[in-house]
């Protein structure tokens, strides 16, 4: 018995170290594969910085955002998400080596949320080959496969996370209606009809958008699009390859469309075909006689099957690949009988039309596409108002015009698109009242807009009050008793503000003000705290006031000149820099006092920086003190104006702004798009 037990122990003892050794080898292999995959793709990873132009509140605004991308060809073609690059006026791609290049958009594809960019080498730069990553086969992915997400989460460059594929063919479904739910991004562009996402758990965060999902072979199998709560979703490389091919060969992506909505057939207890859920009015499907309830069995002689909702995107992908303009046979089953319809393949058009700003009247508008018109019951051949700027002419239309109204014509000029709208506005430029015909739901209204430019902004003009540059506390009864002077009343100085008349007059912390211009101050309670301030307000700015103070037990008379209160002192002239959208003013003694600057501190204070303007994009902030522009010293606003005139004349690629910010100096670099500035003006 003992011998058998010993043998059993020996056998068990052999297996334990073997399991541990296997696990260790597996971990080493994984680490090695990860390292190799990382090394293959990292050099091709880019950090994308985008300056976007968007429309909000009836005007064009600018913002900065970031994301990720991957270079997919040696000549610098980059794949990223459409929601990263959309509306870009400027794009920068920074490689993991630190090199930064400008890029331009080759094509935006909202339907798949993909954008194709081209890195631009600087002028006169020698040609170069960029490191690039290979696109792998997303169809070969299985649940449980290891994948790596690479990108720039939270703008932290070149990060990698590891996860597994949770579902290589994920669609978003309404659980009750079994319909695909399309993802809507900020602009409302919809994505999802064609996509079966790779769902994974390699952590992705804001900033990872557009970055590659990589298999352990170092191939890009997806482009990360969405993430959160431990879930990530990537657009499969199969779709990305298709988009890339079309953009590089045809410079655009076009997809076919028949005009019907597909639903799965499982609930009809079928395994073949796809159910027609609806047929779009005026579509080629409707014209050919397709009806809701029909079962489509084949399209262009290829069998069609969508038993479950996860197969619906495959049906749309098949339709998208049909040659546009060709009429294809579509076999259907209707009430048990088979029939073949001949349906023309139309071009699938984008949902949203182009948008633009019309600054003189203060509104933004968007072209109404046929898809928009159908979905939202909008008129065709019109433009929709997307925003109205408060205080501008369109805002004062009578009767009121709202965002969402469709402009049909201005005067007698139709406004079927943005070009005609711009022409019509120009034609009425000199007219005081502009008649505008709009449609609101089913109503057609005529309104009149008073064509009057808005007035200039009103500067701050605080009423000046006489002011003493000290902070005080009331000598309350309790404090007076503690000082063994129970009859003492007045105000004890707790702070003397620098560079003020109070400091020049020699007032000190600890002085107790007992009288003002000979009148005793009877303050002895907390609620008397503002009495001194009230009395001083009634004095005249510029005149001397006599303060009777107690200092070291002695009564002293101190003469102090009354100066204007800080709020009113800030009502200095503001100089606006229109092209870069910021404003400055001169430094005042109050500024020096508040910020504890040196008495000879010069410069101009930035009072406002318009959101999304070139100054903000260059890093300038409200509160900065500009000390120099392009190495020219700025002491006051007159210097600022002189140097800015030179800058506007010479139009340098960058304006170097040397500033003081919270007691430290730093630089801001304004790099304007001079073409964009010229067009805006």
């Amino acid at each position: 018995m003992w011998r058998n037990l010993l043998i059993a122990l020996l056998i068990v003892g052999m297996f334990v170290p073997v399991s541990a050794q296997s696990r260790g080898r597996l971990e080493d292999a994984l680490r090695r594969d990860m390292g190799q995959a990382r090394d293959k793709v990292f050099p091709a990873l880019v950090n994308i910085l985008v300056v976007s132009r968007y429309f909000d509140g009836g005007r064009a605004q600018y913002s900065i955002a970031g994301g990720s991308g991957v270079i997919v060809s040696a000549d610098g073609v980059v794949l990223t998400n459409y929601h990263v690059a959309e509306d870009a006026v400027r794009l920068f791609c920074t490689l993991s080596s630190g090199e930064r290049y400008e890029a331009r958009v080759l094509f935006n594809d909202p339907l798949t949320d993909l954008s194709v960019l081209q890195i631009r080498l600087p002028e006169n730069a020698p040609p170069r080959k960029f490191p690039f990553a290979a696109l792998g086969d997303s169809d070969a992915l299985n649940t449980g496969d290891y994948v790596l997400s690479m990108g720039n989460p939270l703008l932290l460059s070149s990060s990698v996370t590891l996860g597994i594929v949770s579902n290589p063919r994920r669609v978003f479904v309404n659980p009750i209606s079994s319909e695909i739910e399309e993802a809507e991004f900020e602009r409302g562009d919809r994505s999802g009809m064609l996509t079966r996402w790779i769902q994974h758990d390699a952590l992705i965060l804001p900033g990872n958008s557009g970055g590659p999902l990589v298999n352990l072979k170092g191939e890009v199998v997806g482009i990360n699009q969405l993430g959160g709560a431990g879930l990530g979703f990537a657009i499969p490389s199969r779709i990305a390859k298709r988009v890339l091919e079309q953009v590089l060969t045809q410079k655009k992506v076009e997809r076919g469309w028949l005009g019907f909505k597909a639903l799965p057939v499982d609930k009809l207890k079928r395994t073949t075909g796809v159910l027609v859920g609806s047929v779009l009015p005026e579509s080629s499907a409707e014209q050919a006689g397709l009806k809701p309830g029909d079962i489509v069995l084949s399209i262009d002689r290829k069998p069609v099957q969508a038993r479950f909702v996860e197969e619906i995107p495959l049906v749309y992908q098949m339709v998208a690949d049909l040659p546009i303009g060709k009429t294809v046979p579509v076999e259907i089953e209707r009430e048990g009988k088979h029939e073949t319809l001949q349906i023309r393949v139309d071009l699938l058009e984008p949902f949203y039309g182009e948008e633009d700003e019309f600054r003189s009247l203060g509104f933004t508008a968007r072209e109404i596409t046929p898809a928009m018109a159908r979905a939202r019951r909008l008129p065709r051949n019109a433009v929709q108002i997307t925003g109205i700027r408060p205080g501008y002419p369109m805002d004062s239309a009578e009767p009121k015009i709202n965002a969402g109204d469709a402009i049909l014509q201005i005067g007698d000029k139709p406004t079927r698109n943005l070009k005609e709208l711009a022409e019509a506005i120009e034609a009425y430029r000199t007219q005081e009242l502009i008649p505008i015909t709009v449609q609101r739901k089913e109503e057609i209204l005529i309104s009149a807009v008073r064509n009057k430019p808005p007035s200039d902004p009103s500067p701050s003009v605080e009423i000046p009050r006489a002011w003493l540059g000290v902070r005080t506390q009331v000598i309350t009864r309790q404090v007076a008793e503690s000082l063994t002077q129970p009859d003492l009343k007045g105000f004890r100085i707790t702070e003397v503000l620098p560079y003020t008349e109070a400091s020049k007059s020699g007032l000190q912390v600890g002085d107790i003000i007992v009288a003002l211009n000979g009148e005793l101050l009877e303050a002895s309670r907390v609620q008397d705290a503002r009495d001194l301030e009230r009395k001083i307000e009634q004095l005249t700015i510029g005149e001397n006031a006599t303060l009777t103070i107690l200092r070291g037990g002695e009564r002293v008379e101190v003469a102090v000149k009354m100066e204007p209160s800080p709020a009113s002192a800030e009502s200095t002239q503001v100089v606006r820099q229109r092209e870069f959208e910021f404003a400055v003013r001169d430094i005042t003694p109050i500024d020096r006092m508040r910020n504890r600057w040196k008495e000879d501190q010069q410069g101009v204070i930035v009072t406002e920086v318009t959101n999304g303007g070139w100054a903000q994009l260059g890093g300038l902030r409200a509160g900065d003190v500009i000390l120099a522009l392009n190495e020219q010293s700025i002491q006051q606003t007159s210097d600022f104006q002189r140097v800015m005139e030179e800058v506007l004349a010479k139009q340098p690629p960058v304006l170097v702004v040397f500033v003081m910010r919270e007691r430290e100096t730093t630089f801001a670099f304004i790099e304007p798009d001079w073409k964009e500035i010229k067009n805006t003006n």
């Binding site: 509140g57 009836g58 005007r59 605004q61 700027r389 408060p390 205080g391 805002d395 004062s396 009578e398 808005p454 007035s455 902004p457 009103s458 500067p459 701050s460 003009v461 605080e462 009423i463 000046p464 009050r465 609620q527 008397d528 705290a529 503002r530 009495d531 009230r534 009634q538 709020a567 009502s571 009072t607 406002e608 920086v609 318009t610 959101n611 903000q616 890093g619 902030r621 409200a622 509160g623």
Partner: protein, 273 residues
């Protein structure tokens, strides 16, 4: 008989005319006198909220009520919707974020007139929460302005004011009566009105004697100590009877006059300085 009939007719006529004369009540006369000087002002402000170098800018439009002070178009308005300084007092010291409010435009409308008159900001008094704007070009239009009285309101006295309904109601004027409930001397001399007024009325609202003379202006006074108590003060502002973060009080004309004179000085000295 004829004489009796004639006398009877005359008596009826006199009675009828007497009845007609007595339908114009003192309240109606008050409204007719004061209402023409109450105007609507459309103000557009730019609000910029910034934190850590990033900012968000919105443009907003608001409608406020103004009162015409002079024949050449100086109008008293509440500054609470456009005064950056006032807003800083309201917010207190905030290190995490900054808010900047810049008025962009003022447009004045008179009741019964569809035309809007551009106005510019003359002066603000952020301590009182009031501002003064001036119409740029009146053209041919003549306007009615208020008259002030130095009389000090007494506790218990009922003061009158005129308010206007919205545009959909053709800005119809109506009377409101506000009793003076008390007086304060700290932090400044002002009068306490019955609570409904302080909730409903904007700073800059004038209150009048029944004879139609402006006797004082509503202002905001901040209770800094209540704000420093933090959230409790905030809740009290909305619900309680205990001291609030800010409340409305009536500043008698005598106390308001120096501010008015300084504002009018700006008009004479040029519109902006």
């Amino acid at each position: 008989m004829k004489i009796w009939l004639t006398a009877l007719n005359a008596f009826c006529l006199i009675g009828f005319l007497g009845a007609q004369a007595s339908t114009t009540t003192p309240q109606q006369q008050f409204i007719e006198k004061v209402a023409p000087s109450i105007v609507s002002v459309e103000v557009v402000v730019r609000v910029e909220i910034s934190a850590e170098g990033e900012s968000d800018t919105q443009e907003q439009k608001q409608f406020i009520t103004g009162t015409v002070l002079t024949a050449d178009g100086v109008i008293l308005v509440p500054a609470t919707s456009f005064s950056d300084e006032w807003f800083k007092q309201f917010l207190g010291d905030q290190e995490e974020f900054q808010v900047k409010i810049t008025p962009q435009s003022f447009k004045v409308s008179f009741a019964g007139d569809t035309k809007q008159y551009d106005a510019e900001l003359l002066a603000t008094d952020s301590q009182l929460g009031i501002g003064f704007i001036k119409i740029k070009e009146l053209g041919e239009r003549t306007i009615t302005h208020v008259r002030f009285t130095d009389t000090l309101p007494r506790i218990g006295e009922e003061l009158w004011t005129v308010r206007r309904k919205g545009k959909a109601f053709d800005n119809a004027p109506y009377l409101e009566r506000v009793p003076v409930a008390g007086a304060i001397t700290k932090p400044r001399k002002a009068l306490i009105l019955e609570s409904v007024a302080t909730v409903l009325y904007e700073p800059g609202t004038l209150l009048y004697t029944p004879e139609g003379e402006a006797i004082g202006v509503l202002i905001m006074i901040f209770d800094k100590d209540a704000r420093e108590e933090g959230f409790g003060g905030f809740f009290r502002f909305f619900g309680g009877r205990t001291p609030s973060v800010m409340e409305s009080y009536l500043l008698p004309y005598a106390e308001f006059k120096p501010t008015l004179e300084k504002a009018l000085e700006r008009k004479q000295g040029g519109t902006t300085q």
